[in-house]
Symmetry: C2
Subunit: 352 residues, 2 copies
Amino acid sequence: MARVALDAMGGDFAPRATVAGALLALVDLPVEHTIQLVGRTAVVDETLDVLFAGEFAAHRALRDRLEVVDAPDVIEMSDKPTVVRSRPGSSMMVGLRLQADGKSDAFVSAGNTGAQMAASLLVLKSHAGLKRPAIGTLFPTAQEPVVVLDSGANVDCSPEELVQFARLGTVYAQDMLGRRNPAVGLLSIGEEPEKGNAAVKEAHQRLRAEPGIHFVGNVEGRDIPLGRRDDEPLDVVVCDGFVGNVLLKFYEALAPTLMAVFAKALGAERETLRSAFKELDHAEHGGAPLLGVKGVSIISHGSSSPRAIKNAIGVGLRAVESRMSEHIGRRLEDAAAAAERAEAESTSSSVA
Amino acid sequence: MARVALDAMGGDFAPRATVAGALLALVDLPVEHTIQLVGRTAVVDETLDVLFAGEFAAHRALRDRLEVVDAPDVIEMSDKPTVVRSRPGSSMMVGLRLQADGKSDAFVSAGNTGAQMAASLLVLKSHAGLKRPAIGTLFPTAQEPVVVLDSGANVDCSPEELVQFARLGTVYAQDMLGRRNPAVGLLSIGEEPEKGNAAVKEAHQRLRAEPGIHFVGNVEGRDIPLGRRDDEPLDVVVCDGFVGNVLLKFYEALAPTLMAVFAKALGAERETLRSAFKELDHAEHGGAPLLGVKGVSIISHGSSSPRAIKNAIGVGLRAVESRMSEHIGRRLEDAAAAAERAEAESTSSSVA
């Protein structure tokens, strides 16, 4: 049994798309799961009325698995992330606060991503030993999807941050994707350890020595769509948030672009092609967890459709059920303890 | 009339693919153009014999427009770029030397990219005011192709280097693509000037003040496949060589990946889809000029087919005919002069 708080006011098509997404999710989910719709009560109630009078008329019983939680304020897409401090009544802050207070298990939003990161850090806090959380995004590939992180939370990353991403991504791939011993690649411009920018070159050396990480070495841009490095499947790709974000947006824009190219070339209808692009559609993957906060905060695309919201709720539930956040906390503690031991050993050996 | 030197020994399928590419190019080019095949004479001559006895039997007259230039040594794909100094007899060094000696107008190679950059810099030198040349690559888009630079020659770029890329890319787009007032975007993770890593944020401010550059502001990953920013067409995208190289390899690997996805989804034959991917096929674009060297050095993909080599030769010819290198030299001189004037003014005003 899990309770997912959904930011009813967040996203380009809120509250209609968010509330409809919650209903779509409840139709499919086991009955023990409930959803908390966080937003302006009057607006949310009205949207529910419209949906239950229309496309969800056959599903009015779902109302019992919904709770509407009032949040008088809204953070807009154009607001700076820093506004979250001064908006405790916003749907984002109220939704996350539920979790901090033990009244909810996960938070999902399609609203302002920067604000969601700031609010999650402020309310949930990050796990000990982690400076800043990272966004883990699934990239569809020719094989299984690959986790790319960071995909936008951090720019100008230090080698230590890249190593942290490898730890976070490993737990994500284990808990959310069921990969037993996730293969982690470091994104660079050549396979050789000496290729890359300064941060990547140092991170490469540190990852080689990192216990508990199945580090397969540097990977290149081409390995992501292929989903493998040489003949080994790839599960996690580590990069700074600048590169990750550029790649993510590039990939997202390709589906519509290619659809146009193909429709022209093959003389086919766009609708016929749409199904082929399902694999490449971010709505299929729904949401990207903010990794490293003490709790579950799922970032959904601003343009999320009801189906994308539904899938994001599913991602949130999987994170709760797999206890990903707890596992991340433990993993970071272990790494800190190992670093301390290494430090103590090097001190004692230099004394000796 | 132009003379193009081709590294007959460079590339995964050399010398067969390179020599065949030269013949394909000559079939289509006006008769005043000639090609210099640079490599081991015995090997090149034998390859010519095979091709003239086989698929090019009807084109033996092309032999008169070919010159075989002996280069006893070869730089392998796995060699370090630094080996070029100690291999003056390699096909790369001999081919570039022809140009430095006024005996050739352009050089094309599908060999070791790092070595080609090092050799080009060593033999041709870079234009005054430029620390390091950049690779400009064409990315197919939903509109016209966009020039992305740097796509791999430089990592850890300074703001000044990013500004230089804007100058190089502007001349490339004008001379090679016929864009009159090329729109230059700076690749970042948000449109706002304050978004990005440290180098990008400073480069943004400098590009806004840069004369002769039609700077349209920051662009995001999605703007590249779309080929526009908002409603304005995009001609040049500036980024550091780490990001550019990751994007390039990512894009290159997408065509085969998507072909597999589509063939499965549509039940179509791969061959039927191949034509639709023509637009996304790097062989169509053939070669990426190394921008900033005093001369013409075209970098072709290691896996180049004869068609890719033919197109790369075409790129080299366009660079010669449009006098791109000369225009780049002038542009960089102008920028240096403007910087000097600004410096002098600020000194005199601070004295006053």
